[in-house]
Symmetry: D2
Subunit: 218 residues, 4 copies
Amino acid sequence: MEMPKYKNALIVGAGEGLSASLARLFAREGIKVALAARKIEKLGALCTETGAHAFACDATSAEDVERLFGMVEREIGAFTDLVPADVAQAIAVSAFGGFLVAQQAVQRMLPNRHGAILFTGASASVKGYAQSAPFAMGKFALRGLAQSMARELSPQGIHVAHFVIDGGIRSAVRTEPADRPDSMLDPDGIALSYWNVLQQPRSAWTWELELRPWVEKF
Amino acid sequence: MEMPKYKNALIVGAGEGLSASLARLFAREGIKVALAARKIEKLGALCTETGAHAFACDATSAEDVERLFGMVEREIGAFTDLVPADVAQAIAVSAFGGFLVAQQAVQRMLPNRHGAILFTGASASVKGYAQSAPFAMGKFALRGLAQSMARELSPQGIHVAHFVIDGGIRSAVRTEPADRPDSMLDPDGIALSYWNVLQQPRSAWTWELELRPWVEKF
Amino acid sequence: MEMPKYKNALIVGAGEGLSASLARLFAREGIKVALAARKIEKLGALCTETGAHAFACDATSAEDVERLFGMVEREIGAFTDLVPADVAQAIAVSAFGGFLVAQQAVQRMLPNRHGAILFTGASASVKGYAQSAPFAMGKFALRGLAQSMARELSPQGIHVAHFVIDGGIRSAVRTEPADRPDSMLDPDGIALSYWNVLQQPRSAWTWELELRPWVEKF
Amino acid sequence: MEMPKYKNALIVGAGEGLSASLARLFAREGIKVALAARKIEKLGALCTETGAHAFACDATSAEDVERLFGMVEREIGAFTDLVPADVAQAIAVSAFGGFLVAQQAVQRMLPNRHGAILFTGASASVKGYAQSAPFAMGKFALRGLAQSMARELSPQGIHVAHFVIDGGIRSAVRTEPADRPDSMLDPDGIALSYWNVLQQPRSAWTWELELRPWVEKF
């Protein structure tokens, strides 16, 4: 029996029950998953696990739903097809959100002149790829934030570091082929390097560190 | 007679008459100028000429005025003192505005597969300085935009280039000391390099070019 | 009639007559050419024209001839197969020779506090490729030389610039396919950018500029 | 009693007894030390400890002695005063020596497809400073070597990493002022980061990492 092949799935009203199971199953089958919900804050873990992208959408609003489909379609696409509101949103999520969190954290760390803030970047943090301007803008901006913070806050005792994750991250549902072992980043391996940066004495701090699988082209 | 020394001036209700003359005079005397007006769109030339910064403010609104003084004070400052709305605004002006303009331009160029878009960056485009996170975020993002556009649009015939202006630009009211000739960038010199990049045949295009005075440390 | 296909040719005793014609013919046919002669100084133009590499060799010396074949084979190769003397030679040619020439030039320019020195780099100046360590070492070193000279000599009136040529250069015998126009760098296009850098006023100098064809991936 | 102040000391015939004690004492007093000996191989530890530079010299040879003084004088200096032989030597020591050692090591590691090679760079590896062209050439070249090796050898199981040490290294005789704690790199802190890079699983390898004191400007 020939099975139909699907490449994309959009799960509207995503939560933690069936929709989560579906998302995991789809991802395991190599289907690219988009999750839509009114509040996407809780979908972070599921997105990480499945590689899904989450979109805010009130499914009772015609406008929202139309916008949802537009966003899903346009995730990666030609420069001229980008929708300004989506671009603004991408920058806000990647960079401005990073600022907001970092500032709250620094305010609490400065009185003790002690603390560390680790930012996670991507290949796109240092290289602007075609058909990917919004992501490049956000990730470049985040790196600029990290570098500026490092220069300002290091002498005040706060260790700011930026990690360039250059490759796909292995997860329960996304693994590398058997004949290419360790060709995806093991999240435990990444975590080890984050941990090690936290252990650095202040006389020898790193502000940036890239991580990639041994077989990754770069 | 000893003259009092002022370092800063805030001109509220800035337009093209007296306030413009004052701005020029102040700038010539080395005073840092801030201009406030309800509509700041028309202040661009004056800002360029005098190095002033413009702030939107309806002086009949108590809230606006309070916000104005906050912004003037906070232009450059400690990371923890940054006001999130100002940061969002800085990113929007530096990077998102660049995107909006570029997209409109590209849409008109693509049918002819011909055109050029030149972005102006600064030292902060490649180096995040202390006490300057918003500017670094905006300028890094603009560079990411330019690089992504260059990769995508060059093969479609559109030349995208990014200029890193690494130093102060000479103007009628801001000039270098007599004993350090050419220690500021002559805008005509910058313009020449922009022009030259526009003349490059497509078999040998540049996507990035930095410009600095001969005596600039870098 | 099926024609045999050759991929490599080694012309020993290369000069300006038949061997030069052969080199041009071979190159036109897509054959990679190596030229060997006792004195290779005069082969520069021919090498540029044909993309050939020249090797010093006294064909009456058994030792030289053995070394010749070794060199031809090893031009690009696994790291462990590199012959130290070849590596030293590659660095000497790419970087130390650049230093020698630059120093002589600077000594003659400094009395007038005027002059310009333009270095030609390659993609390998900024990216060390696999199986290419000697070239990377030489080209990285040349860039370090150029940057150090720029910092030291710019304030003394000497303009030092480094060009990263990122792609193949078109020549009489090496041209791009008809369906990919301008996919190789036109040497006249490169020359134009060299010329333009020479025209820059000292208030707005560039120290580095990369050039690539519009369709080049980077 | 006013004490005379010395800034430089040249110790000829340096070994492990008195001359070593003198070197330590001088260094502690802030005097810059040069060590000359017929065989300088054994002076490495002393040089590291005292920040001294070692020069090979047979003090019974007039030529050697004249050359010695020339080298000591010229360590850092104007571009036009550089002596070509010294430049060649600097590149050889910084970069070619690194190649020789690395190749021997790789040959022994490849059969097991396992091993790691860590290169030590400096600020000059990524920035060519004025009056420092030979060092920049050598250190840039070493970085090119490391990057090329990383691309070639990582997929063969050998982890190649390059450390940019951006600051002075603390030693028994060179320490930071009491009011600037940890403003020099603690060698144990550096060692910890080397060790941590060695612990990285191959799914998340770093090829470059810079280290600097928390208060270092960069």
